[in-house]
């Protein structure tokens, strides 16, 4: 086995290899996978948001509007700005599902 870590994206079941120091999003793109949407690749647009379910990682700079400290603490981070330190299991829910869930939550909370 060469250096590096294995990333598993739970919704798609996709698994891919990530080199040390490489971002999860970049590793995914290099292997031709599409389980996480690719936006700016710079931590600015929030397009690649994922939840890390298990494993250790380091974070680069991420826009505070997309990753406020609370989100970061519960593993809601940007795939283009996380660098694994172990194997990771991540989850990227398709956008429509997230949107519907969000709308339902606002509807509920407005009642």
């Amino acid at each position: 086995m060469s250096d590096g870590f294995e990333i598993t994206e739970q919704c798609s079941g996709n698994r891919f290899h990530c080199e040390p120091g490489q971002s999860v999003l970049k590793a995914m793109e290099q292997q031709g996978l599409k389980c996480v949407p690719v936006g700016c690749r710079g931590g600015g647009c929030g397009f690649c948001k994922v939840t890390v379910l298990s494993g250790d990682y380091e974070c680069g700079k991420m826009s505070r509007v997309h990753v406020p400290p609370e989100s970061r603490a519960c593993g809601e981070v940007l795939a283009c700005r996380i660098y694994p330190l172990s194997n990771l299991t991540i989850e990227c829910r398709p956008r429509e599902v997230v949107e519907t869930a969000r709308q339902q939550t606002t509807t509920k909370s407005m009642r």
Binding site: C40, G42, K61
Partner: protein, 307 residues
Amino acid sequence: MRKGVMRPGHVQIRVLDMDAAVKHYTDLLGLIETDRDDQGRVYLKAWTEVDKFSVVLREADEPGCDFMAFKVVDEPSLQQLEKDLVEHGVDIEQVPEGELKDCGRRVRFKAPSGHTFELYADKQYTGKWGITEVNPEAWPRNLEGMKVVRFDHCLMYGPELAATYDLFVNVLGFYLAEQVLDGDGTRIAQFLSLSTKAHDIAFIHHEEMGKFHHASFYLETWEDVLRAADLISMTDTSIDIGPTRHGLTHGKTIYFFDPSGNRNEVFCGGDYNYPDHKPVTWQAEQLGKAIFYHDRVLNERFLTVLT
């Protein structure tokens, strides 16, 4: 420039990491660093620009655009525009001379789209960079990267396009160069100009207020756009799309991202207008072709990835 608003003057862009941003805008785009201030902001210009700076970088924990400014021909015009803005019901904020180094007072206001704009009449004239004013050579030999010619325009995403049009056209003296209309005749994109250029500022309809799509820099030729694409690959810079051609404006273009996720464009060519030209219209059904003339389909990223 019917009301004395002359041209784009500067844009202040928020970045997550200043060192990475300066390297991107200088080494890759070829802007020249001209100053820094005690807030840590970095001032840059493109080589053909005659004033001291056109891009200001500010480190912040959220990328995006703080404001874009237009230069007004003189102080009396600025005073008149100030009055006209107030009369139009716009709240204006006075930004004192020197708040940006070597820049005169600025009049700041928010457009209905949620974006902040400024007008100013004075900025230190430093002349074109690297060439003499008398008997100038064609270009300076020590430019870096893409060697961008000038800061050209911004594209903003936000709501209230009609009210924003009213402000820019009727108060500030821009004209509509190009538009996209949906089936009901509602304008969903407006390209506004002060000059013969295809656009000095553009807006595309978007629900969320005040979003920044891109800042664009001018290149002379298609060969320069291809060379920019080579440099984007050589430096492993995040690419968006291109090289390709727009239907809107017919400019030849490439989009990429700065290290904080702000989108940049470098482009060449594009249509020109004179006052007897009618605005060019694209229908929303043809939006794919209007934006990417060759692919003829929109990618979701172009519509939703913003800072």
